[in-house]
């Protein structure tokens, strides 16, 4: 296992404390705790209705929790919109792929953060620095080691699903965000494209970003995640690692066939410490 950075003291970059969200009589979240460290991939799994989406929407600013606290770098925050979350460094890649199909790759990467030319052209005539944005996009795409995107001037709709996903993910990484939330990034992809996206996720981790990965795909989750947060019936049913538990055990906890304590008490703490040394390991969801 490769640790991202040999940091001495690791603080969670994003924390959730006792998040509650109800929809009328339906309880979406019944007090959920979560910690995400930088340079790690935290998978969130759970059955339908377990509160995965609600949790993610609260963290990404799409919903406001009824109770509980969200902290970024230890500072309490409250997001009224996804834009505010983004400004705090939390980017979300939605399942629906938020890319504009008719625009080219560079325009998509810089969408809503366009850069203007220097001087009179930029300040008075509002001229965009198209060449500069293309060059930066190219550099960034190359840096991420994405070789399948050859032509930065290609319109996004001429790309395959996997390539579009790569553009959407790269977009979040391009602007110095701390946290990326990926909602089912491989759901509609083939094997080759899935591999591409998983590799990109590892690259982002290497760059020290914290990544939350929501997925139904157990092999993917176990391949790429450092820790796995299991949601069940609106609560955190525990945090495991791919080393401490098998996919079968994860599914058992997810469906309520067993509990984390019954499955293997204690071991996940030891395994987690490999990643989060010195940090308060037990993301406190274990009950």
């Amino acid at each position: 296992m490769t640790t991202a950075s040999p940091s001495t003291e690791r603080r969670p970059v994003l924390q959730a404390r006792g998040l509650v969200k109800t929809f009328g009589h339906v309880v979406g979240l019944a007090g959920v705790d979560m910690d995400l460290y930088s340079g790690e991939v935290l998978a969130v799994i759970g059955d339908n209705g377990a509160g995965k989406s609600t949790l993610i929407k609260c963290l990404s600013g799409a919903m406001t929790p009824d109770a509980g606290e969200i902290l970024v770098d230890g500072q309490p925050v409250s997001f009224r919109s996804t834009q505010e979350a983004r400004e705090a460094g939390i980017e979300t890649v939605y399942q629906t792929l938020a890319v504009a199909p008719a625009l080219d790759i560079a325009s998509n990467l810089f969408l809503a953060r366009e850069e203007r030319r220097a001087g009179f052209l930029g300040s008075v005539l509002r001229m965009l620095d198209t060449g500069g944005m293309r060059r930066k996009s190219k550099e960034f795409i190359d840096e991420l080691g994405i070789r399948t995107l050859q032509n930065i001037n290609q319109s996004v709709e001429t790309l395959s699903g996997g390539q579009r996903q790569v553009v959407a993910v790269a977009r979040t990484a391009a602007f110095g965000s701390k946290v990326v939330i990926l909602d089912e990034p491989t759901a509609a992809l083939g094997v080759r494209e899935t591999g591409q996206v998983l590799r990109l996720i590892r690259d982002l981790r290497k760059r020290g970003m914290g990544i939350i990965l929501i997925s139904h795909n157990m092999p993917n989750v176990f391949e790429v995640a450092d820790r796995i947060h299991i949601q069940r019936l609106g609560r955190g049913a525990g945090v495991i690692t791919p080393q401490s538990h098998t996919p079968a055990e994860a599914v058992a906890i997810m469906t309520g066939a067993t509990t984390l304590d019954a499955a293997e008490p204690g071991t996940d703490q030891a395994a987690a410490s490999g990643r989060a040394q010195g940090a308060p390991t037990g993301p406190s969801a274990q009950r």
Binding site: T82, R86, L103, L111, T148, E157, T158, G161
Partner: protein, 341 residues
């Protein structure tokens, strides 16, 4: 778990099937939406030139350009709205209302030309802003909103005009747009130049500014644009407001063209502007197209009308030909938008 190996070769492999001739044509048309209208325009000119040698005379070219000025300018505003996946059925009515305000203030109230011009401009701005507010705040479909305001603005025009047509004496500021420049048979009006200037300005704005890009993104996929951080409602509203400014200028061009104001002058301008935009390769589904295409589209309509008339064809066939062009243009757009990857 399967480890996926990627070499540059495999990526090329993935992209190779796209290089069939049909695919290549598709790609080019996709990148240059104005190209097929331009080819149609050139072919039409060649055919009409062969049919009647008078077609290529400078006088005739001048006439075509002068006839294009009003619908061509109006199509600039219409393009902005159609790029957002909207449509403005009232745009011609707004133009006529604004032109009437301008002409009446000068003619009936003796207002100075510049004040009348400003007042009409503001009327166009307000009328289109109302369209925009109804679309963005009350979330009504643009088709319905502008169908309603078409009736409202037309009625206001007729009420305000009181059955009158106004003719202005040449030489004033309002009729300046009708003044001809040029010589040796080639005479264009100030209005034609203003139209060309509008196209130059908006070609720049749409391609080189963030607002232009946001307009495309909003029309292309509003949800994606919103999630990317674009305030799509503000972009939509601004499209109508800016279109209103364009309509205000077009009202001035209209006055120059007919030397006054006529409440019945622009009856067909609503649909003619949409025709020009659609023939020009801009997608009615938004997010695709180039503004220069609308100029080409407006020219195609006039070239067909003029060429068929010169060839001695029954005028009813002119209308029929335009109808065929519109359907062909939309069919081409469908094909261009259908991308298999």
């Amino acid at each position: 778990m399967t480890q996926v190996v990627e070499e540059p070769g495999t990526a090329e492999e993935l992209l190779r099937p796209r290089d069939t001739p049909g695919r290549r044509i598709h790609d080019v048309l996709h990148r240059l939406p104005w190209l097929s209208p331009l080819i149609v325009l050139i072919l039409a000119c060649i055919v009409f030139g062969l049919a009647n040698s008078r077609f290529f005379r400078l006088e005739n070219i001048s006439i075509i350009l002068q006839q294009t000025a009003v619908v061509g300018s109006l199509a600039v505003g219409q393009t902005l709205i159609i790029l957002t996946a909207g449509i403005d059925l009232s745009i011609g009515a707004v133009m006529v209302l604004a032109s009437l305000v301008m002409a009446k203030l000068v003619n009936d109230n003796g207002a100075p030309g510049i004040l009348a011009l400003l007042a009409g401009f503001v009327v166009a701005l307000v009328a289109e802003t109302i369209n925009g507010v109804l679309v963005t705040r009350i979330k009504l479909p643009p088709f319905i909103v502008t169908l309603g305001t078409l009736s409202i603005y037309t009625a206001l025009t007729l009420i305000y005009a009181g059955g009158q047509t106004i003719s202005l004496n040449p030489g004033g500021l309002l009729t300046w747009t009708g003044q001809t420049i040029g010589g040796g048979g080639f005479n264009i009006t100030v209005g034609v130049l203003m139209m060309l200037l509008l196209y130059a300005i908006f070609a720049y704005v749409l391609q080189q500014t963030a607002w232009g890009r946001h307009l495309y993104a909003t029309g292309d996929d509003p949800e994606a644009a919103r999630l990317a951080g674009i305030n799509t409602n503000r972009v939509l509203l601004s499209a109508y407001v800016v279109a209103g400014a364009v309509v205000g200028i077009t009202a001035w061009i209209l006055i120059g063209r007919i030397n006054g104001a006529d409440p019945n002058a622009g009856l067909n301008a609503n649909l003619e502007s949409i025709t020009a935009v659609v023939i020009g390769g801009t997608s009615l589904f938004g997010g695709r197209g180039a503004i220069i295409g609308s100029l080409i589209g407006a020219l195609i309509v006039q070239v067909f009308n003029n060429g068929l008339a010169l060839a001695g064809v029954d005028p009813n066939y002119q209308v029929l030909a335009i109808g065929v062009l519109v359907i062909a243009a939309v069919a081409a757009d469908q094909w261009i938008r259908s991308v298999k990857s």
